[in-house]
Amino acid sequence: MTDPRHDHFALFDLPPRFALDEASLEQAYRRVQAEVHPDRFAAAGAAERRVAMQWSARANEAFRTLRSPLARAAYLCERHGQPIEAESNTAMPAAFLMQQMQWREELDEARTGEREAAQALAREVEARRDEVLARVASALDERHDYADAAAGVRELHFIDRFRDELAAYLSDDSTPEGGH
């Protein structure tokens, strides 16, 4: 588990927890890339160039995973034997599904009505997302209830898909940035 060849946290010498200091992660990532990037081995032998490419790709994958709270949470769940399996495991609590339905109806209404309604919905989604993330964080780092964390991650997948749709709608007719 702690072999940097296989474990994302070990690769960056970080504690395997959800709570994470982003600055430390970025610094460790840059440090590792500075050692393993193929540019460091452009004049080396074929074996070293190949190993460098593999390690550098590993570091990129680990950084991508740990940097995103959702991907990091999913990774921790998997690490504790609770894979997310977002495609196959779609059974969600009834209350959650009801809320999703309600959001989608509100978005449909917002499309034909006031822009403010969509903005209010966006704030609500954001607040809900923060709540679920906090629940996942406590499940992982404090309660060590990995099944509950995995359930939270699955909910977040749904929330984020809806959030993307909403963001796409909101940015669609917004004025271009800059120019002031």
Binding site: A34, P38, A42, A43, G45, A47, E48, R50, M53, E177
Partner: protein, 623 residues
């Protein structure tokens, strides 16, 4: 022989002498070569002290070629055989090329990439580009007084895999050892960042002759991290010329023109565009082959008006790159202008307005890419100076995926992923007893396969017959630091493993390259063999030096048996290198390379641990 003088295994080799390496900006309109000499990057000039080599190649009936200014002088008199802006055709089919009806060439639509029929035979854009690169290589070797160890060749950041592959093939065809394909805006950022020791978010707006790139970079303590890139690989200064050309046709009531007049009027249109960068009005005068005179006056405002939609396209791509990076225009600390087309005042105004700040232009926009490429080439060739360290982390510009049921695309690698990257995804069979699976690799952002670029098709065969859905086919995409893709597929449930690795079909096969090399050098097979042997000897030397270096620093990672095995293979390689047997030498190289793989892995492990331990020491010191 001097080539293989070495220290004893385990002892430090002699300090490296300076290795000759260059950066090449292979542009749509002009190309340049630069190098680092005495610690300073400089553009290398021809005998007449000109830095820019027009990217123009003329084919003559006797099979010889003219490149650069000489070819440029004939572009209107011999338009069919004088190829301009060949970069637009790299990795492209006839249907991909805009305004093909206005081009004077005799196109042949070959699979994957178009070809051009010239008086000297059918030429691929790869061969035409190789002529330009060969010229630059000659210029560099003459001015540096020796053979090049390698070159960094730049490509537009928005180039897809087919275009990158074609560029690398052209460089190989020109006899260059490609150290790296480097994205043009990243090269420019390197030149700027090191000049100014910049930190923060920078945007590079690169409008060249035929391509547009917008890259957003984050600079932190010598690390150049590309956050997002956007652009259009078929939008550049040429399109502005074309607008003026069309306008001139309209104004002068002209319709179909012979090729020489088309070329003449295009040249005049470009001259008018360039004149308007420094004055409010200019005239466009040309005498057509019919004897008719075209005499038109054009103002800067009219020019800005007729090309506004092109500028708008670049701004849209810039906003998209910003959004992909999760940033706003106000987050950007500096905007760098790259490419000759950014001299147009209305382009500068538009960029300044988008970012709310005046763009930086201190380095010549024509030279900045070559300068950055030269700096990177110097480091990659092994001329690294301690303390003068930087790292480039670049991204892939367009998503990569596979065709799935119903002509839909399943994305495997998302655009703006940092490279190198390796990602795998599992698929399964959909019929009972299915023993083969077709794999179609595509690149692009759209949902439908038909809207993306097809890169490669191959078939995984030999899957043991199983019930539908029982097979587990793992498809792995690997993008290396040059941004080049390799795909492999493997059935994982059964003991039987079928696997295949492909290079995208737009690239040339190795035997094509060898054949073209032979043709271009007009040499006999014996020459080719001598060349192959010499290349292997260079490779052997490089491998021996690298192994020597590894043993000098990390001998303790090996037990005696392991050390002796490597030492024996080194001795074997030294002997083979002197013997002149190509096949035996190749084998000895492979044996040593293979024999040092575990050492390479352990060394990497050690350096990562050391790097992270260093961080802890720093933290302690900071407190």
């Amino acid at each position: 022989m001097a080539l293989l003088q070495l220290a004893e295994p385990g002892q430090s080799a002699a300090p490296h002498q300076h290795r000759l390496a260059v950066g090449i900006d292979l542009g749509t309109t002009n190309s340049l070569v630069a190098t680092v000499r005495h610690g300073l990057a400089e553009v290398l000039r021809d005998e007449e002290s000109r830095a820019l080599l027009p990217s123009i190649v003329r084919y003559l009936p006797d099979g010889t070629t003219e490149v650069g200014h000489v070819a440029q002088a004939h572009q209107a008199s011999d338009p069919r055989n004088t190829i301009v802006s060949v970069k637009r055709f790299m990795g492209r089919g006839v249907k991909d090329v805009a305004h093909v009806e206005n081009l004077p060439y005799d196109f042949v639509d070959a699979p994957g990439m178009l070809q051009i029929k010239t008086v000297a035979g059918i030429k691929s854009p790869v061969e035409v580009s190789a002529e330009i690169l060969r010229m630059l290589r000659r210029r560099a070797e003459q001015s540096l007084g020796g053979e090049l160890v390698g070159a960094v060749v730049t490509v537009p950041a928005y180039f897809d895999d087919a275009q990158r592959q074609a560029t690398r093939d052209a460089a190989r065809l020109a006899g260059l050892n490609v150290l790296r394909l480097l994205n043009e805006p990243t090269a420019a950022a390197l030149a700027y960042g090191l000049d100014n020791a910049a930190e923060g978010i920078y945007a590079i707006y690169d409008l060249g002759g035929g391509t547009f790139d917008m890259s957003i970079l984050k600079l932190t303590q010598g690390v150049f991290e590309v956050l997002a890139t956007g652009g259009d690989s078929a939008l550049g200064g040429d399109d502005f010329d074309h607008r003026v050309y069309c306008w001139a046709l309209e104004q002068a009531n002209l319709s179909l023109l012979p090729p020489s007049d088309q070329r003449l009027l295009t040249v005049k249109a470009r001259a008018a565009k360039e004149a308007l960068s420094s004055k409010p009005t200019t005239t466009l005068q040309a005498r057509l082959s019919s004897g008719q005179w075209v005499n038109l006056s054009i103002g800067a405002d009219a020019f800005a008006g007729m090309t506004q939609h092109l500028v708008a396209k670049t701004l849209a791509a810039s906003r998209k790159a910003l959004a992909d990076a999760g940033l706003k225009a106000a987050d950007v600390k500096g905007v760098v202008l790259v490419g000759g087309a950014t001299r147009m005042p209305h382009v500068r105004r538009a960029v300044a307005e988008l970012f709310g700040r005046e763009p930086l232009t201190d380095i010549d926009p024509d030279q900045v890419v070559a300068v950055g490429a030269a700096m990177q080439a110097n480091v990659l060739a092994g001329n690294r100076i301690v303390g003068d360290d930087w790292l480039l982390l670049d991204v892939i510009p367009l998503s990569l995926g596979l065709e799935t049921m119903g002509g839909l695309v399943e994305k495997i690698v998302a655009r703006n992923s940092t490279i190198p990257i390796a990602r795998a995804q599992e698929f399964t069979t959909f019929k009972d007893g299915q023993t083969a699976m077709a794999i179609h690799v595509v690149q692009g952002e759209r949902e439908l396969v038909d809207d993306c670029r097809s890169l490669a098709r191959f078939e995984l065969r030999g899957i043991p017959p199983m019930a539908a859905g029982a097979a587990r086919i793992r498809v792995t995409f690997q993008v290396d630091a040059d941004g080049l893709l390799a795909v492999s597929a493997r059935e994982t449930t059964s003991g039987v493993e079928a696997s295949v690795t492909v290079k995208p079909s737009y690239g040339l096969h190795d035997d094509d390259i060898t054949r073209m090399l032979a043709e271009s050098m007009g040499s006999a097979e014996a020459d080719m063999q001598a060349r192959a042997l010499r290349e292997l000897q260079v490779e052997a030397k490089r491998l021996l030096e690298a192994t020597q270096q590894a043993l000098a620093t990390d001998r303790d990672l090996l037990d005696d048996a392991e050390f002796n095995r490597i030492a024996a293979r080194m001795t074997e390689l030294v002997e083979r290198a002197g013997a002149g047997d190509t096949a035996a030498l190749k084998l000895a190289i492979d044996r040593l390379a293979h024999g040092t793989e575990e050492l390479a892995a352990r060394r990497m492990d050690r350096s990562i641990r050391a790097a992270l331990a260093g961080r802890r020491v720093d933290d302690v010191l900071a407190k």
